[in-house]
Structure formats: structure tokens, C-alpha cells
Amino acid sequence: MAEATPVTEKTSAPAAGQRSVRSLLASLEIDTRLLGMIAATVVVWVVFNFASDGLFLSPRNLWNLSVQSAAVGIMTTGMVMIIVSRNIDLSIGSILAITALVMALLQTEWLPNALGLGLNSPFIWIIALVIGIALGALIGGLNGFLVAYAGIPSFVVTLGAMLIWRGASFGLVSGRTIGPLDLTFQLIGGGPKGSLGDSLSWLVAAIAIVAIAYGLIASRRRRRRYGFPVRPVWADVTLGVVASLIVAGAVWVANSYPWPPGLALEYAQAHGIQVPPGGLVIPTGIAIPVLIAIGLAVAMTFLANRRRFGRYVFAIGGNPEAAELAGINTKRTIMKTFVLMGMLAAAAAAVTSARLNAATNGLGTGIELQVIAAAVIGGTSFAGGIGTIAGGVLGAVVIQSLQSGMVLISVPTALQDIVIGIVLVAAVGFDTFVNRRKPGVR
């Protein structure tokens, strides 16, 4: 990394090595907290890879890891905003269950019977999804109303909601498992068929790389227009190239995971394809739930950083009184964060139930704790006002990496939870320690 540092930085004084790394990071304007997390994730991956004799970093495991992280990742994007505004939502696991059940019942019983659409009609999956997400928004809105307008602490409101909607879920189906689900809806859950394949995956990569380049150029142009200092060209180029390589690498890994041989053979027979001697290799590509999670994370980041709503959430978290005095409608803003959270929980419900090809009233039990842990490991502060969507999503990947890695190397179940608990506290402890040493942070 240090080779890229401009020569002028190296000439002066002792401690030049340390300084130049710092000035390199300063020129790149990268969030050092996020960079540290990425480094920690890489360490975790490499350690698991050694411990599992190369199984962890196989395309198959990484692909599975991405799919397993999707549901928690989706909900973490909303939880970051909730925690940033000094609230909490404990009810997301129960919202996930009730919305998953309603979507499943819509597909299997209500819509086919009531509308006479018949099973697997092309409209069913989208109607079910829209109603499910609307239900999530409604339940989240109820939480938000009680928190923002009635002034009941969010911990209490959502603890109550957690019990209420879990109970309602059981009441709705009396413990039945609802499935199998609509064939199109199932694609939301991933699996070989619910993935993009190689060409579409490369297309996604190309779009992402173009977007990265455009973003960097547009930001440069904007700062130029106002005569602000811009990053050195090499810094922008480095950033763009590194980001593009990461995108391309991720897609390459996803494409390196072939369909299981049995499924590939079935597909070949169904489509009359000649199977070559080594068996038919169909690249899986990016799983649809992963694409959904990435899309939602990008959208939520946009909302958090580039829209008034996001700015207000951070202002409320930083100083609620100041936000109110600045004329911000703080109640409506808080309510909106809960509406969003409910919708994201419903999206996670679609992913989870589609992946299982069924919904039960126990779905998502305890997932709220994973989501909160992911947000916190990702640098979201319970004191409010601090957190990033990207950090939260990375936190979800870290937790999932630890879990699936420990399963891979056969760590006893009891020890798995202990390790994750330790990592959670250590991550926050580390943040507290670092912040205490930073000037001006109290």
C-alpha cells in the first residue's frame, strides 16, 4: 500500500512510515473504522480457511455464506437507522414470522381460492409480496406511532410487539407449516434456479463498475465546481480500481460455483442439451436474495446519506433537542424509521420463507438479536447519531462468517454462541477504547 504514497510525504522526519499510511488513508478519505472491519473479516476468513483445509474460501461456501447473510443483512440496514435515532426494534423477528405466514397463505390458500387465480399464476407472487410488505409497513407504523407520538419507550413497545405478533403468528396457523410456495416466489430465496447465472451476473458487475466510476467522477466534478480541494487523481483511480476489482472478484467467485451435478443433469435433459463427458457445468452466479440485499443496502445508504430523512435521523440521534429546535418534525421522522424497518423485515421474510419453501410461526425467532449484534459490530452506537449502513451489512457478514465457519470446523454449539458473544462485546469495547483516545470525543 505504501508504494502509492506520494514522494513528498516520505521525505520528512521520524515516524514517516506511520505518517504516510495515515496520510494515504486521509487522501483516500476512507472510513478507517470500515477498513478495520474489512481487515478483521479477511483475518476471520483466512483463519477459518486454514482450520477447514481450504473449505471456507471455496466458491461453494462463500456462495452459501452470501445467501445466509442476506436476510440478516437486509434487516440490519433498517436497524442501523433505528439505533442511530436512539431507538431499538425487538419485534422484527415476529414481524418476519407474521408477514411470511401471510405471504405464504396468500400464495397457497387465499389468492388461488378467492380470486380464482389458480396455483402458480404469474400474478400471485407479486400480489403476495406487495401485501406482505404493506403489512410490514403497517405493523412497523404502529410501533413507530406508539414510540413517536405516544412517547412510549421503543424497547417496551417493540418488546410488546414481539410477543403480540409471535402470538398472532401461532394463532393464524395453529402451528401448521405453510408450503410449498409459488414457483416464482421461491426464486427470491436463491438456490441454483434463484440465481442470475454467469452472463447476468457479469452484467450486474459491469453496471456496478460503471456506477462506481460515475460516482467518483461526479463527486470530483461537484467539488471542482465550488473550488473545493479534490482528492489527488491517483487516489480516485486507486479507489475506483480497488472497488471494481472487489466487485469483479465477488462475481467471479459466484460464477465459479456450479450447479449441483444432479440438478444440472435434470436441466440438460429437460432442455435437450448434450451432456459433455465431465458433466454439464452451469455457473450459479449471484443469488437473487443477495442481489436484493445489495440493492436494498445501496438504497438505504442513499436514503441515509443523500436524503433529508437520513440527515434528520442522524441529527435526532446526535441531539434530539437541537433537531426539534431546528424545526425538524422529529416525531414523523422516528415513525418513518419504524415503517421502513417493518418493510425490511417483510422483505427478509420473503427471502427466508422462499429459501425454505415454507413459512412457520417460529420463523425468525431470535433473529432480532443477530440483527442488533450485526449493527453494533458494524459500528452503530447505542448513544445515537453514529453508524453506517455498509458497516452494519459487513457486521451481518462477520456474524454469519463466524457461525458458518464454526460449523464447518465442528465447533460445539455451546461454544459458537460464546464466541459470538465475546466478539460482540469486544467489538464495542474496542470502539469505546479508540474513541476515548480520540480528541474531542466524549
Partner: protein, 265 residues
Amino acid sequence: MTAPAVTAIQAPLVEMRNISVSFGGVRAVHNVTIDLRPGEVIGLVGGNGAGKSTLMRALSGAHKADSGDILIDGNVVTIANPRDAKALAIETIYQTLALADNLSAPDNMFLGRELVSGVGSLDDSAMESATRNVMGRLNPNFKAFTQPVRRLSGGQRQAVAIARAVHFNARIIIMDEPTAALGPAETAQVRNLIRQLKNEGIGIFLVSHDIHDVFDLSDRISVMYHGQLVDTVNKADVQPDDVLGMIILGKKPGEVTKSELDSLR
């Protein structure tokens, strides 16, 4: 209440008539009437809990008055929240500064009034540019445009709070203890700024404990005592001791007996 002859021809910018504010059973402000003219500084003084901040919070929209009228340019207005006040070009610099510590100076300056692009996205560059312009006038040494304001010094934070009030073409500025947390150099800067704003025709309510600040900067002085207005006096007509008597005893200069006055010394 006697209006000073010099400014009598101008219409009052603000009139607060018979304002009362209660918290629970406590009457924090009781039946207070004051006014402010363009280009005038009113020093609002009183002991702790005299109700001066509460009275100003009614004007800035932080608290709705229970009764009484607020008139701007002679018209009765409703100020139910800070948005209403800002729409009437009333800006407030709070004693606490009311900054979101996790946000940058431009973010704070435009909080609640962000500049957005055509599609409603935040235009951070435009906001930073505007902040650089305002700061160039107020505090040319100010350079911290991207870091969170929690990293700034007391004087810099004050500058952000003042810039926020000045930038949006305020006609009325309420300053609640603007120099309480500042060093001598920064205090002098704020005093200069107040004179500059006054010359631009802005009306200023200056809430302060500091009798010297008030005597130095105000045209008239309104004294509050236990939630009530003692009197509003022309600065030229009184001595600091008279005002001190009003603050401590709650009586007009003529009503104070010799022995009471002696007891103050």
C-alpha cells in the same frame, strides 16, 4: 411603559403582549409585555428563573405561550413550533447552541433547511460552499467544514450557531447568553457582530446575566423578576446600579428605598 423618542416613529418589529407561560402549576412567565424595533437591541435581564429564557422560547417556537399575543409588524401571528418562527424570520442562538454534535458545520447550519437538488437529494457541496462564505465573514480562521462539530472549540461551535442565525436573512435574532462560554477575544468578536447586525436593521433580543454586556450593547433594557416584567428602561436614563436593583429587588428605580439600595452594596 415609555417608548424612547428616537425610535418612536418606527413600527415595532415584535410586540409580545400579555404573555403567560406555565409549567405544570408553576407560572414561569406572567403577563409580560415587551416590544422590539428594527435595528434595536433589547437587553433582557433577570436572575435565575426570572423567566427571560422562557419568554424567548415562546417567541422562538420552542414553547407555545399559554396566553397573550405575539405581533410581527403589527400583525398577530401564531408561533406553535420552531418552523413557524423561522418562517417569520425569527432566528435563535440558544445558550446550549443546539448543535447536533455528530454532524459537520454545514450540516448543522442547514439543519431543517437543507439545500437540495432538483430530485430532492441533499446538495452537500452547495451547503459547504454557502457555509464557507458565511464563515469567511464571521470567522475567517474557521476551517473545519467537514469534521463533526464535537471536535470544534467552544468559539468555533458558537460561530456555527451564529452563522446559522445570520445566513437565513433573519429580521429578529434572539441571543440567549451568547458570550457565556467564550474567552475574551471571542466575546469581543460576538460584540462586534451584534453591532454589525444592529446596523443592518436587525432587531435583537439579548438575554444575558452579564450587566456589562447589556449596558455596552443594548438600546433599552427589560428587567424580569419572578416571571414578571419589572420595567423596560432606556439605557441612557439609568445607571448599572439601578438595573441591578431591579434585578435583585424586582422594583423600579424610583420605588427602591435608600435602605434597600444600601443593602445591595
